[in-house]
Every structure is written in structure tokens, then in C-alpha cells.
């Protein structure tokens, strides 16, 4: 990719805990650590794939960035200069913030946006949900579904609004004749196109794709993936593509982050990750993909057991109970993301020995 590596979103120490209350007084007894300390940057114009098994916190993380969930801790900078981010981060790390810094931080960190600034932010960040049969209101006409964000933001009115809706429908491969229909009259693929049109309505810079193709058939999945690719080039969009399907990620994204139990275990350029997976979990994931080519007889690494409960995650490296290479240090010490080559980071104690 010859694009500039300028960051659009910079996530620092993002945490999302769901408290558990029990007893007569609903005392706060424990936390489900859905997202536990994530540092991640999303570059301008890229598609970053986020993969992991169900329950590993990938959707929660995406929705927390979009402010659909409230975060527990951490900061998310949207479209800020790197110098400013570093300056603010240094102040946060030093602790003891004065009033001026707090104000500055609340302007830069989208997790502290409120009211009008939050509404303004929503123009530039949008989402496409997993199952279009649930994410489109069955009692609204398609034209109202797509026009809704434009009306809420007060961007367009009347004739202009309708023209814009038609234009959007045409960009996603539908036409004017679909305006006055209800979602149930469409097939799954068409519904997902409507959801994409709605996300595009306010000319966003960033769209979160939350498993947009997992409810679709394979032939339709290919149509939607090609559409998303085309739109990304045309409108210079940035995607965070959440999915559990690794071959889809390989097809659409330039970089991939692998998540396990609320933490990122590996982050790399897509080609590099598939050619040289370093974390044992990534290796197992890659080897478990059924490859639609009977000639490629790859050896399987079959993990035992299930994803542990995030209520009390394993100590040390969270993957150690399922890891075939775990040693004593993995049980006690938590690994951190470290650089393992150009644009390749991994959180594992033993990646060097195994590489």
C-alpha cells in the first residue's frame, strides 16, 4: 500500500468491564472483562480486520469506539495530530491533570464527548450491523431508513434529501424503484446494501463493519465484499472490519488484529500474518480454517477446550491453558505486545523460540 501511514483513530488503554452485582444490596462483586486494555491505531484509508472467536470482545470493542457502549477506561483519539496525542498521553501518564489539560483532553478524546459534539462526531463514524433483518426497522420505508441520519443531522431537506437517497441507493446497486418498499420485501443481500447506504448517508470517514457478511450466503457475500471494497476506494473510507471468518479478512483488509479474551495477541499486515503467524493462537486459528481446495493438505492444530470465561480470565498469558507451548512463565507473567518485524506485533513470551 502506497498510502500515507497517517492515523485516523488512536486507541489507548481501552477497557470495558461489565459489573456483576449480587446479594441483597446489589453489591458490586466482580467484573466481566470484555475488553481489557487495548492499544490500537487505525490508519487513514485502511481496512483493519479484527478477528477472534465469539466472546473474545471484538464487537464490544468496536461498539465502545463508536460510543454505543460506555467505556470503563482509556482514550480514543479521532483524527488528531500525533504530536498532540503524544503530549496528552504524556500528561495522562504523569497523572494529576490540571483544569486546562482536562479541557483539552475532553476535546480530543471522543470517549468524553457529550451532547452536540457527540452528535457532530456521529456524522463521521458509522456502523453496519451483523444481521440486516434485525438492524432495519420493519415499519419504516427504505427511503426513510436511509434519510433518517440526514434528517437527524439536519443536513438536507425535501427534494434534495430524496435525490441524495436515490443517489445512495444507486451507489450500493439498488434503484429509485426500491424507495417505497419495506425491508421485508428485500433479500438478505439487498437488505445489507440498504444498511450500507444508511451508513454512507452522512459521508463518514470511518465505518465499523460488524460481521456484515456472516448472515449471508456465499454468492451474496462475495457481492457485498466487492461492494465494500469499491466504496472504500471511491470515498476514501476507513474500515474496522470485525469478523470471525479469516479468509474474508484476508480478502478485504490490509492489516489484521487477532483478539483473544479481551486482548490483542497479534497485529500485522495481512500478507505477513498469513505467511508468518507468530502467536500460537493465530497459528491454530489459521490452521483451523477449512480451505476450499482439497489439494492443500495442511496439518491441523486442534485446540482443546473452549474460550475461558472472561469473568476470571487465566493468570499470566490468557491463552496458556489451551496453548500447546505453554511454560511456567506463561502462567505467571502477562506478555505485552512487542515488535516482531516491520509492522508486526505479537504478545507472546516464546515467539522467538518458535519462529
Amino acid at each position: 500500500m502506497s498510502k500515507k501511514t497517517e492515523n485516523l483513530i488512536d486507541i489507548r488503554g481501552l477497557k470495558k468491564y461489565y459489573p456483576i452485582h449480587s446479594g441483597v444490596f446489589r453489591k458490586h462483586t466482580a467484573d466481566v472483562k470484555a475488553v481489557d486494555g487495548i492499544d490500537l491505531t487505525i490508519r487513514k484509508g485502511e481496512c483493519l480486520g479484527l478477528v477472534g472467536e465469539s466472546g473474545c470482545g471484538k464487537t464490544t470493542m468496536g461498539k465502545t469506539i463508536l460510543r454505543l457502549h460506555d467505556s470503563t477506561d482509556g482514550r480514543v483519539y479521532f483524527d488528531q495530530s500525533p504530536e498532540k496525542i503524544e503530549e496528552l498521553e504524556a500528561k495522562v501518564a504523569a497523572g494529576d491533570l490540571d483544569a486546562a489539560t482536562k479541557k483539552e483532553l475532553s476535546q480530543a478524546d471522543i470517549l468524553s464527548y457529550k451532547g452536540l459534539s457527540l452528535k457532530e462526531l456521529r456524522k463521521s463514524i458509522q456502523i453496519v450491523f451483523q444481521d440486516p433483518s434485525n438492524s432495519l426497522n420493519p415499519r419504516m420505508l427504505v427511503k426513510n431508513i436511509i434519510a433518517e441520519p440526514l434528517m437527524i443531522q439536519g443536513i438536507l431537506k425535501g427534494k434534495e434529501l430524496e435525490d441524495r437517497v436515490v443517489e445512495l441507493l444507486e451507489t450500493v446497486g439498488l434503484s429509485r424503484q426500491h424507495l417505497r418498499r419495506y425491508p421485508h420485501e428485500f433479500s438478505g443481500g439487498q437488505r445489507q446494501r440498504i444498511a450500507v447506504a444508511r451508513a454512507l448517508a452522512t459521508n463518514p470517514k470511518f465505518i465499523l463493519m460488524d460481521e456484515p457478511t456472516s448472515a449471508l450466503d456465499v454468492s451474496v457475500q462475495a457481492q457485498i465484499l466487492n461492494l465494500l471494497k469499491k466504496l472504500q476506494d471511491e470515498y476514501e473510507l476507513t474500515y474496522l472490519f470485525v469478523t470471525h471468518h479469516l479468509l474474508v479478512v484476508k480478502y478485504i483488509s490490509q492489516r489484521v488484529a487477532v483478539m483473544y479474551l479481551g486482548e490483542i495477541v497479534e497485529l500485522s499486515e495481512t500478507e505477513d500474518l498469513f505467511a508468518r503467524p507468530l502467536h500460537p493462537y493465530t497459528r491454530a486459528l489459521l490452521s483451523a480454517i477449512p480451505d476450499p481446495n482439497p489439494e492443500n493438505g495442511t496439518e491441523k492444530i486442534i485446540l482443546t477446550g473452549d474460550v475461558p470465561n472472561p469473568l476470571n480470565p487465566p493468570t499470566g498469558c490468557r491463552f496458556h491453558p489451551r496453548c500447546p507451548y505453554a511454560t511456567e512463565v506463561c502462567r505467571t507473567k502477562e506478555p505485552v505486545l512487542e515488535s516482531a518485524g516491520e509492522d508486526h506485533q505479537v504478545a507472546c513470551h516464546r515467539w522467538k523460540e518458535m519462529a
Binding site: E53, S219, V220, L246, P290, P292, P294, T304
Partner: protein, 432 residues
């Protein structure tokens, strides 16, 4: 050609308010002994309806309209097979679970949330392997009584005599039923006039028969006394634990007492497999058993099915929409589209060379590990089967459609050895 199960021109319709949904449009598939047979296609292509028809469990308002489903399980029926479309419900009930078993798509919905795992798997044992279980329990009790353990008030002796009585009446019932079935099949295979009414009479008689004697049926309802069966439950429980252990479930003694919601998706799917395997079926039908599971868990389940196929089950029918799973697990595969079988071949052959444009499109539209360039999707969507396209049902989406495609349904031909395709591209050229 050797076959274990064969459908001939199978048609299943659904009578809905919108009209008649012609879900299966004359399906011909054949499963051979010792193979894993894949059925692929998009949703709404009739994969599930095909296998549900094979089990005769098509839900209302669906009905098997015409066609034959021949089973070749018995040595005697090697010639024509038993046509299960014609058999009575009682016959089917015996067949399901015993000879053919099915794993359903979503484990969480196919398990009953209000019964424990023991009760759910135990049902299968109680229904299909009762004789075996009773015999084993009686033998155990005999041994204990000989050692001089009669229990309180000779309770064990009472248990033993009652279980033995139950066994005797159940065996008698089984023998009678088997005899009747043989009679029915014999009558059916000789196409004489007046046979139909005789078969109907026999079927009615068969349905009227009860598996236990009157005294047993009464005793099973008497409080306290009916606890003689607890001993049977104990035997069944040990069998369940053994079965679960062989399926690789961690600490099965503990798992049997739990309820489905306490288990993870992968464990639930293993329980569903255990229910299907309780009676050592010859044919296992797996209807998308892994499509709701994570890849690592999917790999575990696929590995399990592969092992079972090697050890206990003769053939597996595996339904999926994931071509990757087909490539990995199956020996032969049929591609279905809108109620028709488009192409059938060995897995290696079909991935190497696709003759039907739908198969070609399907393979071109999935991302591969060594994907180069754009994916090529198939345009449009699966048609509504109330008003299916005329001729070849794929022609509105087909990039190579010709005039004849919208008029005539293509014949299935063997285009290469063991490679069958139904497409005018190959038949009309011969004619021209």
C-alpha cells in the same frame, strides 16, 4: 452400483398460503456404503428438505409428493431396497435413530432446555436399545442375588423379576413387529392387485400393537413400586457416561447432570452427536452441525465426525454451505440449486473442474487462502420457489444461459467418469 441409500425423482412440496413451494424438483442422490457424502448449496436450495425427506420428518405444511427413497440396509433387499416413502409411521420410528440418525443445525435449539443431559441421551437408549439395557440389568441383578444380596424385603428380587418380565414382553413385541414388517415388505415387492388393502390392514395392525404387557404398563404407573426401573436408569447412565467419554467430553460424570444452558456451544453439539450415536446408526445425517461454531471448535467437531466415520458409522451425509468443510471432510459431493441437483462428483474432481456454471460461480465466490484478484460473485439471488423459473432453475442467474435453458429442464448426464452434471451446455451440443 452399490448404494446404501438412494432417492429417485424425489419431489417435496410445501403447501403455504402464498402457494405451493416446490422445494424439491425431482432429486436423485445416492449415498454409498463407507463414504462421507456432502450436500452443498446456498440457503433455500433444498438441502435440509432432502435429508428431512429421507427421515420422513418434513414439517407441516410440507409433504413428500412423489418419488422413491430406497434403503439397502438389509442383505435380503439388495435388489430393490426398502422404499421408506411407503412405510408406516411405526416402521419409520424404529428406523430413525436405529439405522439413520440426524444431527441438527443449532445444538442450542435442538436440545430441550428443561431436561438434563442424562434424561435427553437416556431417552434414545430407552427407546431404541431397551432390550440390551434390560438384559444387562437383569444379569447384574442375578449376580448380586447369587452373592446373597437381596436387599430390603427382597427388593432386588422384585426388581429382577419385574425387569425380566418387561424384557420378555418387549422382546415378544419386537419379534412380532419384525415379522409383520417382513410380511409388509414382501407384499409390497410383489406387485399384485389387492395387495394395497392387505398392506394397509397389516400396517393398521402394526400400529395397534403395544410394546409392553398390560401388567407392566400398570406397574409403571404405581408410585414407589415403579422405582424398580431406577436400576435400569443406573445401567443406562453408565452407558451414557461411557459414550460421552468416547466423544472427548471432559469429566462426563459431571456433565450428565447438567442442563443444556450450562454448556458451551461446542459441548452442546457433542451432546447432540451423542444422542444421534446412542444406537450405533449405520447412516449419520449431519445438517450444518458446525455453522454456528467458532473455527477452532468447528475443527474439533469435524475431527470427531471424521473419527466416528472411521470407527463406528458406515456412511455420513454432511450438509453445509461451506465449501472449505466439503473439501476437507467429504469423499463425494452434490451441489444443489433451488431443489435440483446441479452436479455430483468426487470432491477432488469437482474442485479441479466444474462443469455446471452454478458450481463454478459458487467456488469462484468464496475467498481462498491463495486468493488472487477479485471475487466473482453470482449475480442475483435464489428464486422464490412458489413460482420457480421454468426449464433450468438456474437460468436467470446463469452467465452462459441459452434459449433452451428457459424451456426444458436439463437431463443429468455422466460427463466424465463418476462426474454427473445437469446442464444444457453439454447436452444440447450433442443434439445439434
Amino acid at each position: 452400483m452399490d448404494a446404501l441409500l438412494k432417492t429417485e425423482d424425489l419431489k417435496t412440496n410445501f403447501y403455504t398460503f402464498e402457494g405451493v413451494v416446490k422445494a424439491l424438483n425431482g432429486v436423485n442422490v445416492m449415498v454409498r456404503p463407507g463414504e462421507t457424502y456432502g450436500l452443498v448449496g446456498e440457503s433455500g436450495c433444498g438441502k435440509s428438505v432432502t435429508v428431512r425427506s429421507m427421515m420422513r420428518i418434513v414439517q407441516e405444511p410440507g409433504r413428500i409428493e412423489s418419488g422413491r427413497i430406497a434403503l439397502f440396509f438389509d442383505e435380503k433387499d439388495k435388489e430393490r431396497g426398502v422404499d421408506i416413502v411407503q412405510q408406516s409411521d411405526a416402521y419409520m420410528q424404529k428406523l430413525r435413530g436405529n439405522d439413520i440418525s440426524m444431527i441438527f443445525q443449532e445444538a442450542s435449539t435442538s436440545l430441550n432446555p428443561v431436561f438434563s443431559i442424562e434424561e435427553q441421551i437416556g431417552e434414545s437408549f430407552e427407546f431404541h436399545r431397551l432390550d440390551e439395557m434390560l438384559r444387562e440389568t437383569v444379569e447384574e441383578l442375578d449376580a448380586e442375588i447369587q452373592q446373597g444380596k437381596a436387599g430390603f424385603l427382597g427388593w432386588k428380587k422384585f426388581q429382577r423379576s419385574q425387569l425380566a418380565r418387561e424384557l420378555a414382553s418387549h422382546t415378544a413385541y419386537d419379534n412380532a413387529v419384525e415379522e409383520l414388517d417382513a410380511q409388509i415388505i414382501r407384499l409390497e415387492s410383489t406387485d399384485l392387485q389387492g395387495n394395497a388393502s392387505a398392506v394397509a390392514a397389516l400396517n393398521k395392525k402394526r400400529e395397534g400393537m403395544k410394546p409392553f404387557s398390560l401388567s407392566t404398563r400398570i406397574l409403571r404407573r404405581v408410585p414407589i413400586l415403579r422405582r424398580y426401573r431406577n436400576r435400569l436408569s443406573k445401567t443406562i447412565r453408565t452407558h451414557i457416561v461411557e459414550l460421552l467419554r468416547s466423544l472427548g467430553l471432559p469429566n462426563p460424570e459431571n456433565v450428565v447432570d447438567r442442563y443444556p444452558h450450562e454448556l458451551s456451544g461446542g459441548m452442546q453439539q457433542r451432546i447432540v452427536i451423542a444422542i444421534a450415536l446412542a444406537c450405533n446408526p449405520k447412516l449419520l445425517i449431519a445438517d450444518e452441525p458446525t455453522s454456528n461454531l467458532d473455527v477452532t471448535i468447528q475443527a474439533q467437531i469435524l475431527d470427531l465426525i471424521r473419527k466416528l466415520k472411521e470407527d463406528t458409522i458406515e456412511s455420513v451425509i454432511f450438509i453445509t454451505h461451506d465449501l472449505g468443510v466439503v473439501a476437507e471432510l467429504c469423499d463425494r459431493v452434490s451441489v444443489m440449486y433451488a431443489g435440483d441437483v446441479a452436479e455430483t462428483a468426487a470432491v477432488k474432481d469437482i474442485f479441479a473442474k466444474q462443469y455446471h456454471p452454478y458450481t463454478e460461480g459458487l467456488i469462484a465466490s468464496v475467498p481462498k487462502r491463495d486468493q488472487k484478484g477479485e471475487l466473482k460473485p453470482i449475480h442475483g439471488t435464489v428464486p422464490n420457489l412458489v413460482t420457480p423459473p421454468t426449464g433450468c432453475r438456474f437460468h436467470p442467474r446463469c452467465p452462459k444461459a441459452m434459449d433452451i435453458c428457459s424451456q426444458v429442464k436439463p437431463e443429468t448426464i455422466e460427463i466424465a467418469p463418476e462426474h454427473f452434471v445437469a446442464c444444457h451446455l453439454y447436452t444440447s451440443e450433442d443434439k445439434a
